[in-house]
């Protein structure tokens, strides 16, 4: 038996070593990042250049983006684009890792949440200095969100608005008429949703719960004269404001307007095509306007966009604004910034790309492309395009972009929403803890 034990102890220590090996491996990549690397292949003998292009999204987006790549490659036989794509939830971990390993993709689909996080640390190229990238035809307002410290680090890829998406088929099944979204208040919205839940009799719910992303809190704050972040990069909500936000959430749940806590907790990180909207369990939910297309496809229904309800019942006071749905960024360490800029220019300014992308990433910010594309939009994209045009008179000031660290707010708010919905924290406790935690994260 003795020898066995000797084996035990040596095995044990080996295991102990393995305890940190995983981290250590990751760390080695980081350490290596200091000594330079290769960002996605170089030019080979015939001057052919390979670029890597990352994006997140649904199947619909993967398909059309690949079509754009194909069409670009046909026009530029010397440039190869390698698409790498995935779900939103895993996208940011992967991007952080590749950037740290000095292996960042050349072209990055970027979100407002992380734009400063990367740009402030010098990971992104100033697009104003990029050759061959034109922004002349862009609606001027749409450039602002990607612009700071005198540089342009993200080029708006589409205009978006935060909305309620509704499934008319579920409304019909419940025998409830579609609401008038120009005048509805939170109370009316709650009533309608509760009515649907009752009529569906266990088969679904009136509306998804809010508080599953930071946008809903921002909209709530805007309706109450605040904003999630201020222009100088601070947190702009008060404990009272967040408490009220959560109190109303509980009110909606108690009225049975929203699903059980368990459902919401499962739904908040479900992929788009497995979420409550796609499966027809929810009559309404919160969504970005450009997701109408993907959600309609996933649910097999022609869904409809509605304005967010407001406190006063006036659509002009519902906090709506145009947001850059996402941005095109170029890695500052790209070996081929010229070619990368050429591709981004193609995405933003060519009719060929516009005709393929349509409004899936939001309404094109390039006004010429927008006019060109508008008649060709398929029903869902046409509807989101029309919606964006329709609300133009009701818009408020654009929301300030999140400061460094602001990308964490989504996860933080999800956690506190779960705490509140499961009754583990009271709204005021959650509000205070939320604010403390966010303040600790932003820099």
């Amino acid at each position: 038996m003795r020898p066995l034990i000797r084996t035990v102890s040596s095995r044990g220590s080996r295991r102990r070593f393995r305890a940190v090996a995983a981290i250590a491996i990751a760390a080695s990549l980081l350490a290596a990042s200091a000594c330079g690397g290769d960002s996605g292949g170089g030019a080979n003998a015939d001057g052919e250049v390979t670029l890597r292009f990352n994006w997140w999204g649904s199947d619909t987006r993967h398909k059309i983006t690949q079509e754009v790549i194909d069409s670009f490659q046909k026009e530029h036989p010397k440039i190869k684009i390698k698409g790498e794509y995935g779900e939103w939830s895993g996208y940011w971990d992967k991007l952080a890792t590749t950037v740290a390993a000095n292996d960042a993709p050349d072209i990055i689909q970027m979100d407002e949440k992380y734009l400063r996080e990367y740009a402030d640390r010098g990971a992104l190229l100033d697009l104003k200095k990029a050759d061959g990238l034109s922004t002349d035809k862009f609606e001027p307002d749409t450039l602002g969100a990607g612009e700071f410290d005198g540089g342009l680090y993200g080029l708006n890829a589409g205009i978006n608005a935060f909305t309620i998406v509704a499934n008319p088929a579920v409304f019909k099944a419940a025998g409830v008429p579609m609401p008038d979204d120009k005048t509805w208040t939170w109370d009316q919205y709650t009533q309608i949703a509760a009515q649907i839940t009752t009529k569906l009799n266990g088969k679904g719910w009136g509306t998804g719960a809010y508080g599953t992303n930071d946008a809903s809190l921002n909209m709530w704050a805007r309706q109450h004269g605040q904003s999630l972040f201020t222009k100088d990069g601070k947190l702009g909500v008060t404990p009272e404001g967040v408490t009220e936000f959560y109190t109303n959430l509980l009110k909606m749940r108690d009225a049975k307007a929203t699903p059980t806590a368990e459902f919401t907790s499962q739904d908040m990180n479900a992929p788009l095509d497995q979420g409550g909207m796609a499966t027809g369990k929810l009559a309404m939910s919160y969504s970005w306007s450009n997701q109408l297309n993907a959600l309609s496809k996933a649910s097999g229904q022609q869904l409809k966009l509605l304005r967010l309800p407001s406190v006063s019942g006036k659509a002009t006071e519902n906090g709506a604004y145009y947001k850059g749905s996402m941005f095109w960024s170029i890695s500052s360490r790209s070996k081929h910034p010229k070619e990368a800029a050429e591709f981004v220019n193609y995405l933003a300014n060519s009719t060929a790309a516009g005709n393929l992308l349509l409004a899936e990433r939001g309404v094109p910010p390039n006004t010429e492309i927008r006019a060109e594309v508008a008649p060709k939009l398929k029903p869902a994209d046409a509807a989101s395009h029309a919606f964006i045009q329709e609300i133009v008179k009701e818009l408020g000031e654009p929301s300030p972009p999140p400061p460094v660290g602001g990308g964490q707010v989504e996860k933080i708010i999800q956690r506190y929403t779960t705490e509140v919905l499961f009754g583990r924290q009271k709204p005021d406790q959650a509000a205070k803890a939320f604010i403390d935690e966010v303040n600790g994260e932003i820099k």
Partner: protein, 319 residues
């Protein structure tokens, strides 16, 4: 061990008619052998230095820095470690991890021992059962099984469908913070096959004469288990205990996949390793994550040492 000594004797045996090379003294031969050995070891040595020791040292350095993954690390001394004292999410992750280890490891070992004892009775088709029970150990830490787990315990998962058959209303086991960790404990217990196989091997080593003598003295089966099997098996139990504790502390994949990478709902499945990953790659806080990694190493080392000390009081060696 016996296999190794056999190898040794094999090497010493020289093939008949073996000739030494010109001028080949015994000393030179040994150096040559050593050289050959190191040559064969090279791939592992490279692995050890390049992907284990090097990175470990790098992470030790990073533990004392503020490192956001993109810019060069900045030396901040012990700040990462002092920050850990007041990091409530870290404390929560320790609570979650310790609960997981303290609940799942004893359950898993008890189940493994029970089945090993049953199988050791010479059940027909034992090889088949052994393989079947071992299978989860091979699959348990895989992504596929974690995804399956998510489906089984989901709101409309298999478990709830089964419960509905008998008229019990299920719940979202994974989406409720009070039960989510339980599903992961169940997953770990389910992988009892690896310790079971080791228990089986240990049971085979207990000399039959003890049982025969006990039977002659009229000891019943429970008595035989308690007074012979259990004490004789303590070294194996100890081995499994140490191994499974270390293994459980390092659990990552299951929680990552089941919670969609969030450690949720509400941090209820936020294992230490998951939080470490989240700080490092999600929050651009790699210096802190490295400090956490070294703290985990210390925790595991201390616990293992404590285990070895405690073993003096309960582990029985038969020689």
């Amino acid at each position: 061990m016996s296999a190794l000594s056999e190898l040794g004797t094999l090497r010493r045996k020289k093939p008949p008619g073996h000739k030494r090379g010109p001028g080949g003294g015994a000393g030179k031969k040994a150096t040559k052998d050593n050289l050959a050995a190191y040559l064969f070891l090279t791939p592992w040595l490279i692995g050890l230095f390049v992907i284990t020791i090097g990175p470990m040292l790098a992470s030790l350095y990073l533990a004392f820095t503020d490192y956001n993954l993109i810019q060069a690390p900045e030396w901040i001394g012990l700040e990462n470690f002092t920050r850990m004292l007041s990091d409530e999410r870290l404390h929560n992750s320790l609570r979650v991890t310790f609960t997981y280890v303290l609940v799942s490891v004893p359950l898993q070992l008890a189940l493994a021992l029970l089945l090993a004892v049953v199988l050791d009775r010479g059940v027909r088709g034992m090889a088949f059962y052994r393989s079947i029970f071992y299978l989860p150990s091979l699959l348990g830490s895989s992504v596929a099984i974690a995804i399956l787990w998510k489906q089984v315990f989901g709101t409309e998962g298999l478990l709830n469908q089964l419960l509905a058959q008998v008229g019990i209303e299920g719940k979202g086991w994974i989406s409720d913070p009070s039960t989510a960790l339980g599903t992961l404990v169940a997953l770990n217990v389910w992988t009892f096959g690896a310790p079971m196989v080791i228990f089986l091997a240990g049971l085979r080593q207990i000399p039959a004469m003890y049982y025969e003598a006990a039977a002659v003295d009229g000891a019943g089966s429970w008595r035989r288990f308690r007074s012979i099997t259990l004490p004789m098996l303590t070294p194996i139990i100890f081995f499994n205990l140490v191994l499974q504790i270390i293994h459980a502390f390092q659990s990552f994949t299951q929680a990552f996949v089941v919670s969609g990478g969030t450690g949720g709902p509400s941090d209820s499945t936020m294992f230490y390793t998951l939080y470490l990953y989240d700080r490092g790659f999600g929050n651009f806080d790699m210096g802190y994550a490295s400090a956490m990694a070294w703290f985990l190493l210390v925790i595991i080392a201390v616990l293992t040492a404590a285990n070895f000390v405690a073993s003096k009081y309960w582990v029985f060696y038969d020689d």
